[in-house]
Amino acid sequence: MTDPLKASLAISGLGLEAQSQRMRIVSQNIANSNTTGNTPGDDPYQRKTITFVEALDRASGVMGVKVARVGVDPSPYTLLHDPNHIAADESGMVKMPNVDMLLEMTDMRETVRSYEANLKTAKQARELISMTLDMMRS
């Protein structure tokens, strides 16, 4: 049986890792929000999504969280009229990525809040451990 307080630290660490991966996906989406194709009618960058799943961490033996899969958003691309663009088709339309800046920003905010919550629980577990150790001090 693992010590619950040490397990809390491990779980919080896994949560931090999961949220960092989510932040990475958000950055990718924002960085590629203007990435189009190179040939006429070519598909642009497709927005990435990330999902989590509760899973056993073999290193620490606790049920934590990990990235289930990184998928793509199947929603339709935005069409932009720009006949001079390299990826413009016969009618002058360019397919732009299905990245919505507002959505990415709210996602980023949520990621930051979740990250903070995980940090908070890790700090708390550390405090409980030090309280226990303080009992031995006179």
Partner: protein
């Protein structure tokens, strides 16, 4: 000293609080996991008299969770909100539970500290 059960009770409560803290950590880590249901420990007085919990009778038995000691069972707790993805972890609620745990743990260790001082005083050291 076997007549004084205070250390046993305090130890049990510390164990219970630690398990609760680890479940809170699990809930917070899985706050964005689709379909994840928030978990909590059973109240201490209830679990103390329960004989229905699984116990390890052999050291080689696999533990079914963290700190799954006899008398500390987990249950799906009632939460404030359910998300569209099926998860029901409310971060404010988890933070409040975490605060409760910290307060109770602080009280527990303070009582044990002063009790320890009393014992030392009897021995005159």
């Amino acid at each position: 000293m076997s007549e004084i059960y205070l250390s046993k009770i305090a130890g049990d409560q510390a164990q219970w609080l630690s398990v609760r803290q680890s479940l809170i950590a699990g809930n917070v880590a899985n706050a964005n996991t689709p379909g994840y249901k928030s978990q909590d420990v059973k109240p201490m007085d209830e679990s103390e008299n329960s004989f229905l919990n699984l116990v390890q009778t052999n050291g080689k038995h696999l533990a079914a969770g963290i700190g799954n000691v006899a008398g500390v069972g987990t249950e799906n707790s009632s939460t404030w909100e359910v998300f569209h993805s099926g998860g029901n972890v409310s971060l404010p609620q988890e933070m409040m539970k975490s605060g409760e745990v910290a307060g109770a743990y602080q009280l527990n260790t303070s009582v044990m500290k002063s009790f320890h001082r009393m014992v030392l005083a009897t021995f005159g050291s």
